[in-house]
Symmetry: C2
Subunit: 135 residues, 2 copies
């Protein structure tokens, strides 16, 4: 069986937050929205339905854990949870804290506006705060 | 406790497919994509994370069931699974069969192009075929 390796595009677009039992948690490099990814460490996984039943249950638990951490840490009017994968096939679940004042509201955040850089150190600081809530 | 009632906008935009233990399954009136909704019959539910742990497990099982039925019934290059709720707060999960030839690919389907009407009877026929796979 092939070993899991994070897709290079996901790796480039995000920084590490934490390793949960199933998923790597990453923070997107986009200050427009506090935006997390869960990437199940299963080589070749593309669709949620193709995970084992146990892994699907783990994924749901981790979506709930990450959702709780995210909205505890940042202002949030609505969570957006999505597994799309049209651009990057490797299974990844977006968990995004949306605000009515964010630049894409009420539309989906995906591709809505160009990514905005975090101030130096700000993404890493947010990732650390989230990691403390997750581990 | 208030009784569950389907949001009027979701009701207007979709037709019934099946009733699963947790969720009403609906087919969107949009022939651009075979597009299902799961709507957990829990009054006031907005976020996945606010469902009980049992209901979250049921929701994941029903996402998997609906995903399997959908891609067995229609051509599908990628499933898109998403709970957004920025426009309609009532918790609903989109499960969309995407094709590389569809009018929004590779972008998300939400709001990408105007909904296209099904031929008379075609949506109901697809809903019936899906219902047989779900029940």
């Amino acid at each position: 069986m092939a070993e899991f390796a994070l897709d290079p595009r996901l790796a480039a677009d995000s920084i590490p937050v934490a390793e949960l039992p199933l998923s790597a948690v990453r923070l997107m490099r986009d200050a427009n929205y506090p935006w997390l990814l869960l990437v199940p460490r299963r080589a070749g996984a593309v669709e949620i339905v193709d995970l084992s039943m146990d892994d699907r249950a783990r994924l749901m638990d981790e979506i709930a854990l990450v959702s709780t951490a995210l909205r505890s840490e940042v202002p949030c009017d609505k969570l957006n949870v999505a597994a799309l994968g049209n651009m990057v096939a490797q299974l990844h679940v977006h968990v995004i804290a949306r605000r009515r004042e964010d630049p894409a509201w009420p539309n989906p955040a995906f591709g809505a506006v160009p990514a905005k850089a975090y101030a130096p150190g700000a993404a890493e600081a947010l990732a650390s705060r989230l990691a403390r809530r997750l581990t």
